[in-house]
Subunit: 232 residues, 2 copies
DNA sequence: TTCATAGTTATCGTATACGATTTCGTACTT
DNA sequence: AAGTACGAAATCGTATACGATAACTATGAA
């Protein structure tokens, strides 16, 4: 587990089924996205079409298309006759993204809850345990990845792929902000791990959808609150 | 009021501010989107790049880019070496879209509620009154447009543009299904108008966010339920 | 020294061209 | 008559080329 770049799963798995060589625009999309999510291209980074095209070894047209797609996902900003830059670390954007995530993650969790079996719960617990260990060794990068894994386990049988897609977009958006000021408010991580366990117990106990949704939403919202409290 | 095509408002208004002539890919995007939303291109319609390019009077590259953008919004399906078609009327997709809409509309309404003033409430009531009249004259197309207007008034000061964007995407998605089997379950429209009034009263009365969110969510969900009950 | 302006460079935007892939029709075989 | 294989047409995918726009720089005047 612990894959970092989370993609529009539906699209990508469909593409994988066809034994087709990936189109170059597809490749360019994946490549640039990966660089943004990994942090090679940090926010504000100037994405020059010709340069990227040369790097990847093909022409500008597919690259252009890829950039446009990333723009639609909010990962890059594209200005006419000026060019593309990796989307910024505007605190307001962070707030919007986190708030939206709290809503869609809450919904995704509530919808998935009735479909989660005990095996998945056990796996989620194992991931959460790993997260605890990360805290001891202070490994924030892995912690974040595991956090996504934890929720991914819960979302495995999410009955609505659209909502799942929105979750993934949010995650990617946040990933592009890596190593910005928006991470690791002291103490929040510990609390987060505790909330995970509480969430699992709610699911195990067959709590009603509304309770689970509120808990999951609050889980994300608390991280946002923790950040906000540090700045004010 | 009563504009039909709802766009990523942030992007479009920004583009409007620059006195720039719209780029051709932008024009192509708007044009094709409009045709889909208006119903000129119905689901399943084959979008041949060269043909569209000729119609619009420019080359295929910008058209291609536009189609890709529409793909990202879910309005068209693009298959490699085969081409683009207007996204289909799969009942499952309808369910996904409506369910997602119920969630994001619910959230958008709850977030907006505290910011809605009495003038806006009055305007919303006026729109709702028009909707009643539409029911008498049986004008479903206008009814749908007014329905969007009603909610748009409520969302005018929505503090989170991301969520608003998701709402708009959902609306566009549904619009592309116009004149499909997914509309106008008998009696549902009347109920919808009543629910609008109830929603306004909740907002006026300063109901708490949770109550408003549930009401708004249920309002959309009920339409979905009405559809589902007709098929089973 | 600072500001305005003109010219240069970098970069984007789009058209055209051609190769690759798919689809569809037709002829041939069983 | 039905199915298969082959070939032609349609369509997509990408490269290259060139025009348009904006950013930058240098030069001159106040």
């Amino acid at each position: 587990m612990t894959e970092t770049a989370v993609g529009s799963s539906a699209v990508e798995s469909a593409a994988a089924l066809k034994a087709h060589p990936e189109s170059k625009s597809q490749q360019a999309y994946a490549a640039v996205k990966a660089r943004i999510v990994e942090g090679t291209y940090t926010p504000g980074y100037r994405l020059v079409l010709a340069k990227i095209a040369e790097d990847l070894g093909f022409s500008v047209v597919p690259v252009r298309e890829a950039i446009r797609r990333l723009e639609a996902e909010g990962l890059v900003k594209f200005e006419r006759n000026v060019g593309a830059t990796v989307s910024g670390i505007d605190p307001t954007e962070y707030l919007y993204t986190m708030q939206t995530l709290s809503i869609v993650e809450g919904a995704a969790t509530a919808l998935s809850a009735p479909l989660i079996d005990s095996i998945a719960i056990a796996r989620a617990r194992a991931v959460n345990q790993e997260m605890r260990e990360c805290l001891e060794h202070f490994d924030p990068v892995r912690f974040t990845a595991l956090n996504q894994d934890f929720h991914s386990v819960l979302f495995e049988h999410c009955p609505n792929p659209h909502i799942l897609d929105l979750v993934h977009r949010g995650w990617n958006r946040l990933a592009s902000l890596r190593s910005s000021t928006f991470r690791f408010v002291p103490g929040r991580a510990q609390e987060s791990v505790r909330e995970h366990e509480a969430l699992l117990q709610l699911i195990e106990g067959g709590a009603d959808a509304d309770t689970i949704e509120k808990a999951a939403r609050q889980h994300r919202a608390a991280t946002l609150d923790a950040y906000l409290s540090t700045t004010n």
